[in-house]
Every structure is written in structure tokens, then in C-alpha cells.
């Protein structure tokens, strides 16, 4: 096995090096295509038996260049003959260099000539091109220490004390990037220019970034709303299958939880808390202008395991920036879809007049971050026999001493897995057109056998100034992904539990296979009827293959000065197939002799947007107006077919006809449409007083007849105190107060909810299936969107030329008209109906600080963010209190929480664990658990009525964190760099449901090692109950609830930039080593506290760990090459 693993690694590495070799080979062609100036200047030389000086003079006559030389050059050669017609000056200098051992150095418009001493055989660089200049500030004062870099290379220098610099260029037509902290970075063309004097304009540092805001962009300093930005570089720091997870720990107000750590698994993002109870809570994603609500369940294709992540079908590595719109003023432009925040994703585009190739590759290994400590076979048998003896039953096993360690089922299902990513980007452009082509291959094997995720994607972005008044462009991404799911995270126990649940339940006394090589199942009496975890992991086929095309085309026309019209047409087409085959070797399909299913879904979204933009600058007033009309729609179709009973397991799901027992097929279709008018007005006076009004009117097909249209307005204002004349402290570079208020909506309730519906209710008559059709949903024409009102007050602060920046925001959000499943009296024949009823709030505070501690040769910058959110249900309207959360029949859990006014969503409502009974006297004194025996669990009889029942349930925990935080840092010294990201969550509870079975002490399922310390009459000072086959009165209580606070080293990367004078033709080469999840500080006893087993099914079931795919530690070696 081990050899196979390394062999695989070797194959991958070989492939990688061949691929890099080919690219390097192609490089000279690329290099030749560069060059003007010396190369462009064509001269004809006709010198016969003259001197070198004759040649130089001849060149000077025909070009702008002047030669500088001394006597040594002048006198050495007297017998020079050269006859060349219309040859590039560069080549002529090369010839001269070779023949007469000369070295040329071009400095600005001068070419200095020197003689090379005899002993040196080869002249490395016959022609050196150097340019000199000076960098000054807005007042003409020199800027010492400014950085000058030849664009697209690692070649650079800094100015001296007087602001002077000299730089030797690799390409004489290069662009110089000149930067100085606190000043706007400037690009300077040195096209045949001489001495350069470069004047930098002061800049409010980071605040001058341009921020995408939805149907437009604005300079960061002129923002009035609350928007956080993440650069593409920062996104890439964490290597992950999908972009949402790369936001974790980086932005205040954004809480990211991976629900399952399976490759390509489900991730929940909550921006400023949970806004909705039954509606969607995920933000709206807008990818290059195309709005997408990432409804994972649509992409899951009738899943049997964890939900796949719809965003994992998109490449993470071609992102230029991510903007997260948090307050209502920012999201109101997305109206009825803005309530949960909006994430704008901009992908990389080329640059005009440039060319480059980027190759990025990494390769890594993952291993499960933590294993659970379980009893070995001998210890298990001892416990089991004790449990049976304690209950007066015949023990199930012989003498424990006959057993050894038994099977370590975790070792049987875990493996060391590979992760790799390879990307090549061609980007560039001419004067009118720019483009970017990105090809990417990503593969992540999972740490559980037979799981993994693969994706190949191709992106083409193009923009063209097609006519002088018309731009056109397109963004197209094509991807193909295969998500090989191990059956985990099923949210059920027993037979329908997944691989992890099986592995944590099946006793260590059972061997993986019997003497005949067949899989063993768990057949102990009264035990959970789990199958063999190895069989369930390795034998089934459970793969979702998704092909997705996301494309958007635009054209923009300048109608008049400052007035433009942009129209765009886009589509998002996703086609998914789940192939599912459970062979007869798995317990679940044993009796059916194989179960095969094909599930297919197709989602087609389309979009047309038409936006007029107008901007006016007059004196100190700046006005920007945007008005638009958009239509969007989606058509979802799905179908599935199954067949049971196969002669051979070879067909898997690819030949349903071979199954002797075909099952009923299913299919479905739904559609929605959205029609919108939008507008925004931004006004600012002198960049000092900023004001904006935004509104959108949305008409949605999803709502009742009388409620199709809604209007979502917002206002915002900001005041930059630093622009006031009275503000004189130069140490404070920015001080801005912001305030906004707006109303936004949430339309994620699924389609057709307002219509009465009849469904198929089939029956059997005459021993044949007959179709029956009856009522299933009652009509509700009053149904409408949920509305969230949000107030935001913010402060932006910058000091020391923005070396220190602080952004803090306070917000208050109230969601009204909550869509709730109101319990209709069941005597109506309906149990529930969706109604707008109830309200909840989220109130919070965000704080982000970034500081540059050192910007000399040693560069250190640190950033941190922290985010507090308080979620509370204000009213449940007609619904009243209702039980919510996980229901898992196989372990007797009815509900894990309650939805109650005054409480947050995602609480835990259980019994209160009150230690163990130590004596019969204590049982008697307690009175409410008369059948208990010493060593049994005692629950608190809260209402003292002498019995433990549902009225003794109490709120014992909260699955929403008190605060979430992140710390990131970058340290660079010379060519070395290091960055890290710590992310943490505090004040959160996790329900460790695995413990229901793993601390049941009933002697028929695998147990945690903690059970060694179980109660016996000799060992009474413990919180582990006695062993008992009947597992007496085992309830959901504070026993299984644990503190889920953690601090994780999410990522650490050490990089080395290879100095580029070492390798010819390569502009940049970087190697890096990354470690992910290297450590997690937590008291949680399960695999990982960041877990959300049921989140895919239910917004309300938060923070539960049950048979969830465990987290991996990852070690990655990567390389980036720029050509």
C-alpha cells in the first residue's frame, strides 16, 4: 500500500516536471517577441577598415543614441570592417561585443562602451540596459527608500537618500512600478526616455483601493456602507476546494463553518448572524456580475451522504478579489436577495500592453488531524461482559483475556491522502484588448477511503475597446468536477449511518473479513445494526459529476460624456449526475442484492441586466448615478431511476436494465423568475461629505398573487473628518464616520410555496400499484419575502500614513415577516403551512485592525479581526414555541433544541445531567428515577414533580459563538516570507452525538476510552456511568454537550523567492511550504469542534457532531513560476 502511494506521488511529480519543461522551452519564443528601442532601431553600417569610433559615429547618425567611450576603446581597433544593412542595433552591438570583446551598457539614451579584460572567456551580457532617475514627492522633495520594480519581474531597487536610483533592466521597454508607502503606486513607461523624474502623489494608503460595490465601483475612501475586501492573493493563501472556505478568519462579520470536512463538502457562511429560520441563510454570490444563490441541495443530486458544495465547482485560484457586502446600504442594490449579505467575486483579467504566463502548482499530503481513543477488543469485552452481568444476563463473550487489541476500525478507514493543484494562466493584451486564460486542475483525495474531489476548469476573460464609444467583454468559466463521496454524514445511526458512524459503533472484536474473505457485520444482539465500515467505504460508488458553464457577456456604450449604458447577458448552466451503487457486499444492499441509482439534475439560470451610469464632477461635487432594469430566471430539473437485484456488481449504476428489480423512477421541475428595477445615487462634496441612496424593486414569481412586488430602499452617509480644515494632526491619516440604514429581503423559500398542491399518494388495488392523488399543501396567497431592516454605524481610522488602520462597525438587524412553518391544526388535514410570522434580531460589533510594524528590509505586518453577534428570536408569531433541531430515531433523540422567543436560533434543549447516583439512598432521595441503580445517570428534576419528563428540559447550550476572531500576519526578510492565519471561535457549544453510542456502556457498540473509568462499586468518583446492557435512561443531556471553542492554526506558509538573476528568461520563481490545521487548541473531545452535521438539511440544527467526516491536517509544497 505504501509503495503504491509513493508511486502515485512519483507519477504526479514526473508529469509536473514534463509540463514545466515544456513551458520553459516555449519561453525563448516569448522573449523574442519583446523588444523595441535597441532592438527596434534599425541601422545600416558600412565601414571598411576603419575604427570602432567610425562604427559608433555611424550609429549615432542614424539613431538617438550617444556613445561614451575612453581611449582604450578608441585606440585598440583600427582595422574594423562591418557591412550590415537594416539590422537591429541590438544585434549590431552583439556582434561588436563578440568580435572586439566589448561590453555595452545603455543608460537612458547613452550607451557606454568598455573593454573586457582578456582572461574572461565569455561575455555574459553583451549589452546592459540601465536607467537612472529620481523619485520625488508632490512637493518636489526626494523620497528616499522608494521601491522601483521592473514590472512583471523580481528585478528592483530602491532610491538612495537623495531619491536617486539606477536600475539595470532585463527589458529595455519595461514598465517601472514605483511605490512608496503612503503614496499612490505609479507605473512609469521608459519608452526611449532618458533620465526619469518620477513624482508620486500622496495616497490615503489602502483606502484608495477601488472597491466593487455591485453595479459599479467606488474608491474605498468614499465608501459609505460596510464592505470588506479580500485580495486574490489572500484567497489563495488557504488551499481549499471552494472559495467560501478561504474567507474563514479573514473578515470581521463573516462566520464560516465547514459542515463536513469531506473534500468538496458543504460549508455554511453566515454574514452577521442567522437572519432566517426557514428561509435561506447563505449570502448571495455575484460572480463577475452574475448573481447566484448557492443552494447546495439543488446540486446534491438526491444525496445519501454529506451535501456537496455548489461553489466547489468553481476555481478558487482565478479570483482577483472578493468583496463582502455586509450592511443593508450595500446590499439594497440586490433587494430581495440582500438580507444575508452579498459576496462579490471578481476574477482575474489581463492587462493592456503586456504578456505573461503564470504557472502555479502545489502538491501535498493530508492525514486525519485527530483520531478518537477507543477501547481495544480486550477492554471492550471486559466492559460488555460487565454490562451483561450487571443486568443479570448471560455475558456475550468468553474470557476477555482471550482477546487482544482487535480491529482498529479507524485505521481501517483512514488513509494518507494526496492534494494537488496545477494552474496555468496566460494573460495580457494589446492596446485595445486584454485577456486572461486560466486552466486549472485540482485534486483532493480524502482521508477516508474512496473519497475525493477532482476539478478541471478553464476560464476565459476578455475585454475589448471595440469601438471608440463601445466596449465589449466576456467572462466564461467552464468546469468539470467529480465528487467521490464516501457515505458519511448521513445524520442517521444504525443501518443508515455512514462510514464514520459504522466505524465508531462496530465493536473491535469483529474482524474486517471472515475466513472466506467476506465482510463481517455487527450482529451482537440488541446492538445498532451497523454494517462493515470498510465495506461501506470501499465498495459503493457514490460520485457526483458536475459540469458547469458560467458565462456573462457585456457591452458598454458611451451615450454621451459621462453617460454610459451597459447591457449584459449571462447564463449559468450546471448539469450534475450522481452515480450511486451499493453492492451486495454492503449490509444495506445485501438483501436487495445491489442497489443502483442514477440521479440527474440540470440547473439553467439566465440573466439580462441593463444599466445606465452617469457621473458628474463639478468643482468639489461628485455625483454618480446608476439606474437599471434586470431580469433573471432559473429552471431546475431532476430525475432519478433505480434498480435493485443485480447478477453482478460490475454494472454499478451504468446499466440499470441489468437489475432484476427496477424501482419507480422520479422526476421534477421547478422554475422561478425575478424582474427588477434598481437605482443608486452617490454624491460627495470634496471627498468630505458622502451621501448615497439605493433602491431596488423586485418582482418575484415565488410569492403569492397579491405580494409579488417589493421595494428595498437604503440611505447612507459618511463624514471624513480628516478632510476638514480644522483637522490638523498629520499623524492621523484617516478618520471617517459612517452611518446607514436600509431594508432588504430574503426570497429563499423555494418555489410554488403559495400555491395549493396535490401530490401522488399511491396505493395498491388488485395487487397492482394504482395512482392516487390528494391534497398535500394548503394555499397561502398572502405569502411574501422576509424583510430585514439594518442599521449600521461605522468608524474608519488610519494613522501614520495608514500604517495602522482600524475599521469598526456596530449593527442592528431586525428580520420581520419571518417565513415560518406555522403549525396548522392537524385536524385540517395539513400539519404545517408557510406563513409570514415572527421576527428576530442580530446585533453585533465588528472590529478589524491592520498594522505595518516594519517596512524596512524586514517587513512585518499583522492583522486581526473580531466579531461579536447576538442572535435572538423576538417573536414566533402564531407559531409559538416549537421544538427544532436534530431528530435521530435510532438513538432516541426527538429534538435537540427549541425555537423560543428570547432565545437564539440553534440552542440546545435537553435534560440537566446531575452526576451519577452513588447509592440506593440517593436514588430514593431523588425520587424521579425509581428504577435507577447506583452508577446510573442522575437528571435534575427541575419542576420537582417526581418524574423526569419533557417538562424537565432546559436550555443547556447555544450553538452560536460569543465571538469569532482571526489573526493573520506576514513577515518578509529578503527573499524569504512567511504568512500565517489563526482563526478561532469562542463561547460555542457542540453536541457530541457520537457519545450517545460511544459512551452508552451497553456492551454492544464500540466505546470511548473514557469508559475505562466507568462507575463500579470500587470506582465511584467518576462521571462515567456503570456498564449496563439496557443502557438505562440514557437521554440527551448536558453530558453530551461540550464547549466547542477553538483556536486553530488554519494556515502557515513559508515562501522563498528565487532571485531572478539566477535563471534566464524567468521573471519570478517562488517555492513555498504550507501547513494547514497543524494545531487546534480546544477542549472538545470529538474529532473537531468545527462541525455541523445537519446544517445541510436544516438551518436550525447547528453545532451537532454525528458521524461527520473528520478534518485533515495538510502539508503542501508549492511552486509558482512567472514567465
Amino acid at each position: 500500500m505504501l509503495n503504491k502511494k509513493y508511486l502515485k506521488l512519483l507519477v504526479v511529480l514526473t508529469k509536473l516536471s514534463i509540463y514545466l519543461f515544456l513551458i520553459l522551452m516555449a519561453n525563448p519564443l516569448l522573449a523574442n517577441s519583446y523588444g523595441q528601442g535597441l532592438k527596434d532601431t534599425k541601422v545600416s553600417i558600412n565601414v571598411n577598415k576603419g575604427s570602432l569610433v567610425d562604427v559608433f559615429k555611424s550609429i549615432e547618425d542614424q539613431s538617438p543614441f550617444l556613445f561614451l567611450y575612453d581611449n582604450k576603446v578608441d585606440n585598440t581597433q583600427t582595422n574594423v570592417s562591418m557591412n550590415r544593412n537594416n539590422m537591429s542595433l541590438y544585434n549590431i552591438l552583439q556582434i561588436l561585443s563578440k568580435e572586439y570583446r566589448l561590453k555595452f551598457k545603455k543608460i537612458n539614451h547613452s550607451i557606454s562602451v568598455s573593454k573586457v579584460p582578456e582572461p574572461i572567456q565569455e561575455i555574459e551580457l553583451p549589452v546592459v540596459i540601465e536607467i537612472t532617475g529620481k523619485v520625488i514627492d508632490e512637493n518636489g522633495q526626494p523620497l528616499p527608500g522608494a521601491s522601483i520594480i521592473e514590472k512583471g519581474t523580481q528585478n528592483g531597487t530602491t532610491t538612495d537618500f537623495d531619491g536617486n536610483f539606477a536600475i539595470t533592466l532585463q527589458n529595455e521597454q519595461a514598465l517601472l512600478t514605483v511605490s512608496y508607502l503612503g503614496y499612490q503606486t505609479k507605473e512609469v513607461s521608459i519608452n526611449n526616455s532618458g533620465y526619469l523624474e518620477i513624482r508620486l502623489e500622496p495616497d490615503a494608503g489602502q483606502l484608495s483601493e477601488v472597491v466593487v460595490i455591485g453595479y459599479g465601483e467606488v474608491e474605498k475612501r468614499n465608501l459609505t456602507g460596510s464592505i470588506a475586501r479580500l485580495s486574490g492573493e489572500s484567497v489563495k493563501e488557504v488551499q481549499t476546494a471552494s472559495l467560501d472556505y478561504s474567507l474563514q478568519g479573514k473578515l470581521a462579520g463573516v462566520n464560516v463553518t465547514s459542515n463536513s470536512s469531506a473534500p468538496g463538502g458543504d460549508v455554511s457562511i453566515r454574514i452577521r448572524g442567522n437572519n432566517s429560520i426557514l428561509g435561506g441563510n447563505e449570502p448571495l454570490y455575484v460572480i463577475d456580475g452574475f448573481p447566484i444563490y448557492s443552494n447546495n441541495s439543488l446540486y446534491s443530486n438526491g444525496g445519501v451522504a454529506q451535501q456537496p458544495n455548489a461553489l466547489s465547482t468553481l476555481n478558487t485560484n482565478d479570483i482577483a478579489s472578493i468583496e463582502v457586502l455586509k450592511d443593508a446600504a450595500s446590499t439594497a442594490i440586490y433587494g430581495s436577495r440582500g438580507a444575508n449579505g452579498v459576496i462579490l467575486i471578481t476574477t482575474k483579467r489581463g492587462s493592456y500592453n503586456s504578456k505573461s504566463i503564470d504557472v502555479e502548482s502545489y502538491l501535498g499530503v493530508q492525514e486525519v488531524a485527530q483520531k478518537l481513543d477507543l477501547l481495544n477488543a480486550r477492554e471492550f469485552v471486559t466492559l460488555s461482559n460487565e454490562a451483561y452481568t450487571n443486568d443479570g444476563l448471560e455475558p456475550l463473550f468468553e474470557d476477555p483475556s482471550e482477546y487482544g487489541n482487535g480491529t482498529d476500525w479507524q485505521d481501517e478507514i483512514f488513509r494518507t491522502a494526496l492534494i494537488q493543484n496545477h494552474q496555468i494562466t496566460f494573460s495580457g493584451g494589446g492596446a485595445d484588448t486584454r485577456f486572461s486564460v486560466v486552466g486549472n486542475l485540482f485534486q483532493q483525495d480524502g482521508v477516508v477511503l474512496n473519497s475525493g474531489f477532482k476539478r478541471g476548469s478553464l476560464r476565459l476573460n476578455i475585454d475589448s475597446k471595440f469601438l471608440d464609444f463601445m466596449d465589449i467583454g466576456a467572462s466564461v468559466s467552464i468546469s468539470s468536477s467529480a465528487n467521490n463521496q464516501s457515505v458519511t454524514d448521513t445524520g442517521e445511526g444504525g443501518l443508515f449511518g455512514g462510514v464514520l458512524n459504522y466505524a465508531l459503533t462496530i465493536p473491535p472484536t469483529i474482524d474486517v473479513r471472515d475466513a472466506n474473505g467476506n465482510y463481517n457485520f455487527n450482529d451482537l444482539p440488541s446492538s445498532p445494526p451497523v454494517g462493515n465500515p470498510v465495506a461501506l467505504a470501499t465498495e459503493p460508488l457514490n460520485r457526483i459529476t458536475t459540469h458547469r458553464i458560467l458565462g456573462n457577456f457585456y457591452t458598454k456604450i458611451d451615450l454621451a460624456k459621462d453617460l454610459s449604458f451597459k447591457t449584459s447577458f449571462g447564463t449559468d448552466i450546471s448539469d450534475g449526475i450522481r452515480d450511486f451503487y451499493l453492492p451486495s457486499t454492503t449490509r444495506r444492499a445485501q438483501s436487495d442484492n445491489g442497489q443502483a441509482t442514477i440521479f440527474r439534475s440540470r440547473i439553467i439560470s439566465w440573466l439580462n441586466e441593463n444599466v445606465l451610469s452617469y457621473s458628474l464632477k463639478k468643482d468639489k461635487s461628485n455625483l454618480d448615478v446608476v439606474a437599471g432594469f434586470t431580469v433573471q430566471g432559473q429552471d431546475f430539473r431532476q430525475s432519478s431511476a433505480s434498480s435493485f437485484n443485480f447478477i453482478s456488481d460490475e454494472f454499478r449504476s451504468f446499466n440499470l436494465g441489468a437489475g432484476a428489480n427496477p424501482q419507480s423512477p422520479t422526476s421534477g421541475r421547478s422554475k422561478w423568475t425575478l424582474l427588477s428595477y434598481l437605482g443608486r445615487l452617490n454624491y460627495n462634496f470634496d471627498d468630505r461629505y458622502l451621501f448615497s441612496v439605493t433602491g431596488r424593486a423586485d418582482g418575484s414569481s415565488k410569492y403569492g398573487d397579491g405580494n409579488k412586488w417589493g421595494v428595498f430602499p437604503s440611505v447612507a452617509g459618511a463624514w471624513r473628518l480628516t478632510k476638514e480644515p480644522f483637522f490638523r494632526t498629520h499623524k492621523i491619516s484617516e478618520l471617517k464616520l459612517r452611518a446607514s440604514f436600509g431594508v432588504v429581503g430574503n426570497q429563499e423559500i423555494g418555489e410554488y410555496q403559495s400555491l395549493a398542491a396535490l401530490t401522488n399518494q399511491n396505493y395498491v388495488i388488485g395487487n397492482q400499484l394504482v395512482s392516487g392523488i390528494g391534497p398535500s399543501r394548503i394555499a397561502n396567497p398572502d405569502l411574501k419575502w422576509e424583510t430585514t431592516e439594518q442599521t449600521n454605524i461605522g468608524l474608519d481610522f488610519g494613522a501614520f500614513n495608514d500604517k495602522l488602520t482600524i475599521t469598526s462597525d456596530y449593527y442592528y438587524k431586525k428580520t420581520k415577516d419571518l417565513l415560518l412553518l406555522v403549525t396548522v391544526p392537524s385536524v385540517s388535514g395539513f400539519s404545517q403551512a408557510l406563513k409570514n410570522s415572527g421576527s428576530l434580531k442580530n446585533e453585533g460589533f465588528e472590529f478589524a485592525v491592520n498594522g505595518v510594524l516594519s517596512d524596512k528590509k524586514l517587513k512585518i505586518s499583522l492583522g486581526g479581526n473580531i466579531f461579536f453577534n447576538r442572535n435572538e428570536v423576538l417573536s414566533l408569531g402564531e407559531t409559538g414555541e416549537f421544538p427544532s433541531g436534530a431528530v435521530v430515531g435510532s438513538i432516541g433523540l426527538n429534538y435537540s433544541g427549541v425555537m423560543r422567543e428570547g432565545l437564539p436560533i440553534g440552542n440546545f434543549n435537553g435534560y440537566v445531567y446531575d452526576g451519577l447516583f452513588q447509592s440506593e439512598a440517593e436514588v430514593e432521595a431523588h425520587g424521579a428515577q425509581p428504577s435507577a441503580r447506583p452508577g446510573d445517570i442522575r437528571y435534575r428534576d427541575l419542576n420537582n414533580d417526581g418524574q423526569i419528563n419533557t417538562s424537565d428540559l432546559a436550555i443547556i447550550g447555544d450553538a452560536q459563538p460569543d465571538f469569532t476572531y482571526g489573526i493573520n500576519g506576514n513577515i518578509a526578510y529578503g527573499n524569504w516570507s512567511m504568512n500565517f492565519l489563526l482563526s478561532g471561535v469562542s463561547g460555542i457549544d457542540v453536541l457530541n452525538m457520537n457519545k450517545f453510542e460511544m459512551e452508552s456502556l451497553s456492551g454492544v457498540s464500540s466505546q470511548l476510552r473514557s469508559t475505562l473509568n466507568r462507575w463500579t462499586s470500587q470506582n465511584t468518583n467518576t462521571n462515567i456511568p456503570r456498564a449496563s446492557a439496557a443502557s438505562p435512561d440514557f437521554r440527551f443531556s448536558s453530558r453530551q454537550l461540550e464547549n466547542g471553542s477553538y483556536l486553530r492554526l488554519r494556515n502557515i506558509t513559508i515562501g522563498y523567492d528565487v532571485p531572478m538573476d539566477k535563471i534566464k528568461g524567468v521573471k519570478g520563481l517562488k517555492f513555498y511550504l504550507t501547513g494547514q490545521n497543524l494545531f487546534t487548541i480546544t477542549n472538545y473531545s470529538g474529532y473537531d469542534p468545527e462541525v455541523n452535521t445537519f446544517a445541510g438539511q436544516d438551518n436550525l440544527t447547528l453545532g451537532i457532531d454525528y458521524g461527520t467526516y473528520p478534518r485533515a491536517k495538510t502539508y503542501i509544497l508549492g511552486m509558482n513560476i512567472k514567465l
Binding site: 436487495d592 419507480s664 424582474l675 418555489e751 400555491l755 395487487n767 400499484l769 394504482v770 394548503i778 406563513k835
Partner: protein, 488 residues
């Protein structure tokens, strides 16, 4: 400039302008009330949906698992073997309260069925179709509606009466007196009896018949005569109804008791009304075969069992060894194919006998077997008839002996004779238990006989008077406060 203008005009032309029906929803994969109830086919489908509530899989089906969990597991006849599900444990241990999911399922599902029936009753009369068929279909629906109300009134006492299709979300309800519920049941059954045929062609076998309506009506009268109404005037009506049914001679007992449960002989001469199940992955199969059989059942069925419910050993011991029913009802020995060892009761692998009435040797699917569930069969009618005669005449007459002895003879048991009213009553009670155990009758029987608490306590179960009614679901009372049953 011309070019610019024409490009702008062309682009504006491309922009889709919204039209009024752009936001109208068009359903594709479901039917709405506006496009259904139009044809004879629709009428048939509407009625089939009413039947479906009886056999629907999962929590909804009235007879899928609800009846054996509420009417059998709660009694001394069976016990829960796999004690992992709280709702079942509470049933077995008689500790259920108003939050018990199982108890609320019967309530909720019954009213789902009643609403389907009410919708069919409201809509079918307006459909243009064969009038004869229309009458029959309405009769079928009324039969099922009566059956649903009969279960409700027995399980919960006073219950709300709904006779109209629900169209409004705002529903208020009160509990109506049992007498009024029974009035509706009787009128529905009488109507069904006149509307329904004596039998059906093969294609329609499984639908409600005249005999089913009549037999159920007889049972309704017997129940009304017992607890809690104790309306003894109903004994005469019961005798009259059941006598007509018995004398008509449309039904008889199978010669072999085992045939009652065999799926080869389903819908046979003894079966008066059965909930129809069919395997094959249509979600229309029954679960008894797998849920009731022991873990390694020796390949008696292709699928090893779940051992959900097992027989109580003491109940098993009440059977006479010569009683043919004993070996049909219980499984006490099998060969474990894994070990090759013969497992016999009693042993640690078979701590009590398995309930083995619904055994399908070909049953290979999880929750997907052919075995029907018998709601009413002829031996039940015979025993009801014997019981009613005994009560009406204050002692058994020959007719009463004939009825009960038919049942006993088939079981290989000696005839009864020379008994007084009390001993005959006891004998009928005992016979019902032996004959009809694990068929969803026991709790109903004990409740109407007023013996539930007594019999349970004798068997060592801690029963209270409140256990002769189930609680109304707590969540229902929260949104519509009405009086709960005593003790909950």
C-alpha cells in the same frame, strides 16, 4: 454617429421587457386544485389517495406500523426488543405522555385521511362520469372515513368532527362528544353498505365491500355497547347487523389458519378488509416481515430481521400446545446460517419467541414486503357475533357456540359448551386474544372491555386508568387549547 445610434437601438431592442404574466408560477411536477377533479380518472385517483392513508409507508400510514405499536406493543402480548426508539419504548413501558410522537401520529394521519376523504366527497359529485361508479366511489370514501373516525373515537374519546375539505389556514376546533362522532360513523357506514358491491373483479380487489361496511358497523355497535359509552342498547343492533352478515354466507374461515397470513391467499374468503401492500420498490410494501423477525432467522426469509418487536414469553405460554395457532403465530427455533447452530427459544439469541404471523419467505426488501394488514377478517366477525349474542341474551345460545366453535375447530381446539354468560364472555375474550393477537386489536379490545388496567397489572405492566385513552398531541393543544384527556 449613425453606427452608434443603430447599435444603441439594436441593444435596446434586445432588452427583454417584462410582461404581466412573467411572474406567474407555472407548476410542472405537481397538480393544483385548479387542474384536478375533472374526470373519472381524477375521481378514481382522489379515492385511491384516501385508501393510501391506511398503508402509506412511514409515520403517516395508519396501519403501516402505528397500529401494532399502539394497539399491540402497549399490551401484554408483545414487547420491544430493540429498545432504541423513545416513542416505542414509551409505548411498551406505558409511560407515554402528550409529547409521544407515536400517539400524535395516529391523530395527525387520521385527519390527513379525513381531509382527503372530505375533498373527494366534496369534489366527486361535480365530476361528469359514470353514475354507478360515482356512487361506489363515494361509498368507498365514506367507509374509510368511518374507519378513521372509529379509530379516533376509540383512541382519543371526544374528537373534532370535520366533514368539509379544508381550504383556509385558520382552523379552530373543539372536541365533539363521542356520541356525535359515532352518529357520523354509523351514517357513513350505512351509506357505504348500500353503495358498495359484495365483491369486485380481480382488478379492483382490495377495495371496500358491502361486507366490510357491514362487519365494521357490527363492530362499531359492539364497541358502543362497551366502555366508555356502555350503551347496551347497541347489542341488539350488533346482533342484527352481524347475523345478516353471517347468514349471507359471503365469507368463511380458511381451513388452514396459516393461510390467513400467507400472501398467497391474500384477499381470500376470510379477508373482509385488508390494507393492501405490495413489494417492488414502489414504497408500498409492508415491514412486518423484517421488523418482527429475529436477527439471524436462519434464512427463513432472505433478509435477516430487525427484531423490533418480539412476543412476550408469558403470553406465548398461555397457548395450549395443541393449538394450531401457536406454531403459526410464533417462531421459536431456527438455524443460524452464519454459525450453522440451531437457535431455540429460550436462549440468549432468542430470549422470547418472535411474532411470526406475517412471514414472507420471498420477502427480500427492507420495509418492502407483500404481507397485507387485516383490518377486518371473518373470525373477528364470528367472535364479535358470539360476544354480542351472549350479552344480548345474557348467555350463549347455540348460534353463539356455533360462532366461537368455528374459530376453535380450525385451531384444533375442543368445542365450548355448557357455559354461563360470564364464563362464555371470558372465553370469547381469551379466544380473541389467541386468534387475533398481533393484528392491532388488543388495546381496543381491552379498552372497550374495561379490562385494560386490570389485565396489564396482572401481567406486571404498570398501567393507569389514563392509559385507556391516548393523549391529544401536545403541540396541537398549544395552538388550539382544548381539554386534554384526564391524566395527561
Amino acid at each position: 454617429m449613425m453606427m452608434k445610434k443603430s447599435i444603441i437601438i439594436a441593444l435596446l431592442g434586445l432588452v427583454i421587457m417584462g410582461c404581466s404574466d412573467f411572474l406567474q408560477e407555472e407548476p410542472y411536477d405537481f397538480l393544483s386544485t385548479t387542474n384536478f377533479y375533472k374526470s373519472e380518472k381524477d375521481a378514481l385517483a382522489a379515492v385511491n389517495a384516501v385508501y393510501d392513508i391506511l398503508g402509506s409507508q412511514g409515520s403517516v400510514g395508519i396501519y403501516w406500523e402505528t397500529h401494532y405499536l399502539m394497539m399491540d406493543l402497549t399490551t401484554e402480548e408483545s414487547r420491544l426488543s430493540t429498545r432504541t426508539s423513545q416513542r416505542k419504548v414509551e409505548m411498551d413501558d406505558l409511560v407515554w405522555d402528550a409529547t409521544n410522537i407515536q400517539a400524535s401520529r395516529l391523530w395527525n394521519s387520521s385527519y390527513i385521511g379525513i381531509n382527503r376523504a372530505n375533498a373527494a366527497i366534496a369534489r366527486i359529485p361535480h365530476i361528469e362520469m359514470n353514475e354507478e361508479l360515482k356512487t361506489r366511489l363515494l361509498g368507498e370514501v365514506k367507509f374509510i372515513r368511518a374507519l378513521l373516525y372509529f379509530n379516533l373515537v376509540r383512541a382519543y374519546g371526544d374528537v373534532p368532527i370535520r366533514e368539509e375539505e379544508s381550504t383556509d389556514l385558520n382552523v379552530e376546533w373543539t372536541r365533539e362528544p363521542k356520541e356525535q362522532v359515532y352518529e357520523l360513523i354509523i351514517s357513513d357506514l350505512k351509506e357505504a353498505k348500500t353503495a358498495l358491491p359484495v365483491s369486485y373483479d380481480a382488478v379492483n380487489v382490495g377495495r371496500a365491500t358491502r361486507g366490510a361496511a357491514s362487519g365494521l358497523l357490527g363492530k362499531v355497535y359492539v364497541t358502543m355497547a362497551g366502555n366508555p359509552l356502555n350503551d347496551t342498547s347497541k347489542w341488539a343492533l350488533a346482533v342484527e347487523e352481524l347475523r345478516e352478515l353471517v347468514n349471507a354466507g359471503n365469507y368463511a374461515l380458511f381451513e388452514d389458519y396459516a393461510d390467513v397470513f400467507s400472501d398467497q391467499s391474500e384477499n381470500g374468503v376470510e379477508h373482509m378488509f385488508s390494507v393492501q401492500f405490495k413489494k417492488g420498490g414502489f414504497f408500498e410494501g409492508s415491514l412486518y416481515n423484517t421488523f418482527w423477525s429475529p436477527r439471524g432467522n436462519g434464512g427463513l426469509t432472505p433478509l435477516s430481521g430487525l427484531e423490533d418487536v418480539m412476543a412476550e414469553t408469558e403470553f406465548y405460554n398461555t397457548f395450549n400446545d395443541s393449538d394450531i395457532r401457536k406454531s403459526v403465530t410464533f417462531l421459536t427455533e431456527y438455524t443460524n446460517p452464519a454459525t450453522g447452530e440451531t437457535v431455540s427459544f429460550p436462549s440468549s439469541d432468542l430470549t422470547s419467541p418472535a411474532c411470526w404471523k406475517y412471514f414472507d419467505p420471498d420477502g427480500s426488501g427492507w420495509r418492502d414486503n407483500d404481507n397485507n394488514w387485516m383490518v377486518l377478517r371473518y373470525s373477528d366477525v364470528l367472535l364479535l357475533y358470539a360476544e354480542a349474542l351472549n350479552e344480548l341474551n345474557s348467555g350463549p345460545d347455540q348460534e353463539a357456540y356455533n360462532a366461537i366453535n368455528q374459530v376453535r375447530q380450525r385451531a384444533g381446539m375442543p368445542n365450548l359448551e355448557n357455559m354461563d354468560v360470564n364464563s362464555f364472555r371470558e372465553a370469547v375474550y381469551q379466544e380473541r386474544s389467541w386468534e387475533l393477537c398481533y393484528e392491532g386489536h388488543r388495546w381496543y379490545d381491552l379498552a372497550r372491555q374495561g379490562r385494560f388496567v386490570e389485565v396489564m397489572q396482572e401481567s406486571g405492566k404498570e398501567a393507569l386508568p389514563k392509559h385507556t385513552l391516548f393523549p391529544l398531541p401536545l403541540d396541537q393543544l398549544v395552538i388550539n387549547p382544548v381539554k386534554q384527556n384526564p391524566g395527561y
